[in-house]
Amino acid sequence: MSCETVRPILDAFVDNELDAMNSASVEAHLAVCAKCAAQHESLLALRSQISRQPAFSLSGAQRQRMLSPLPQKPKANRGWFGGFGLGLATMAAVWFVFAISIRNEDPRIDQLLGSHLRSLMPGHTLDVVSTDRHTVKPWFDGKVSIAPKVFDLKADGFPLIGGRLDLLDGRPTPALVFGHGPHVINVFVFAKGREVGPTSRDGYQMLSWATDDLEYVAVSDTDRAELERFESLYRSAR
């Protein structure tokens, strides 16, 4: 490819919108043409600048105001147990807020976030690449003392990509990697009793859940609602 051919499609190349053949041709050209390579760098720089812009988002009150004119869900008849459940839910919510505030300073949050960010660098995401949970699960055997449950949630939009071992707190820690659209979700697995409160920091979301013997911590840049959906799918997967 010549510069004249490459330059008008450089944006599409950066946006990952070229087919494999054109993409390879552009790459080959960038390797030998300093001028186009510099333009490519500039486009990447511009993109990273734009990505640093904070998104406008709705406050809880604004969101509620927006949703309130919609017709309400038909109400189920709430008996005594329903009221009891609601009470429990309120208590849980209060505990949840409390849990956030006391766990906020957990130093492992930094470690987990760091580990997630490192995993996003090229070549760092995976040690075992497989979309087959029966390959990923045994891969951890013999490397760590715990046996995480591995599910592929592809049907729900969270395909399993693979797994990796990270050193967290000086211990080898299994990390399961899932995709979700353009986002990556890292699920770190610990022996029980090492839970991290739900947190969001710098646009990254973190939440954890426990099974009988293990603690799972999911970290991602996807939005909170999606990460919660992921959690509930993972919990209920068999």
């Binding site: 946006d15 511009l46 600048q49 812009q53 406008f56 919609l70």
Partner: protein, 163 residues
């Protein structure tokens, strides 16, 4: 037309509410108007949801939000900007030069972009939409999405450097 289903509406539309608001804020450059338009669009979406057959709820909802924004801008009588649609080889300054600007300068430069370019830039860079989804939202061919994006970035670079 089938009755809108709450869970389905939540899954396809409501979860994109923040993104829709972000788009409207950037299109209208005014958070107050953006809230009104998104509110209005949400009701429109609810009423039209029976006719939604597509896979891409985000693109479908964004189309409604975008139309709302355009109507709002029309009311405010914003003159349309003449466009160049063909692909051009944009000239960008060096990467180091671009990286030296701070977030506020970049924000101001995006705000200054003509609306036609601003919307594709926001959809691509902030909402991570594919060219094909953008083409659905904006209602132009994919080639046009490509040329507009390329120009949007070129103008943005130029605005930053000239400022």
């Amino acid at each position: 037309m089938r009755r809108p289903d709450h869970a389905e509406f939540e899954r396809c539309v409501v979860r994109h509410l923040d993104s829709a608001y972000n788009l409207a804020c950037w299109m209208l450059r005014n958070t107050h108007d953006a809230e009104d338009v998104v509110q209005d669009s949400l009701l429109k979406a609810w009423n039209a949801f029976g006719g939604f057959r597509g896979e891409d709820g985000k693109a479908w909802f964004f189309k409604i939000v975008r139309n709302g924004c355009l109507k709002h801008l029309e009311k405010a009588r914003v003159a349309p900007v003449p466009l160049v649609e063909e692909l051009v080889a944009a000239d960008h300054p060096e990467a180091e030069v671009l990286l030296a600007f701070d977030a506020e300068q970049v924000h101001a430069a995006i705000r200054c972009l003509p609306e036609t370019y601003r919307e594709v830039l926001v959809l691509r860079e902030m909402e991570q939409m594919s060219y094909s989804s953008i083409s659905e939202v904006v209602g132009v061919p994919i080639g046009t999405v490509m040329s507009r994006l390329s120009r949007a970035r070129a103008i943005l670079s130029k605005t930053l450097v000239d400022a």
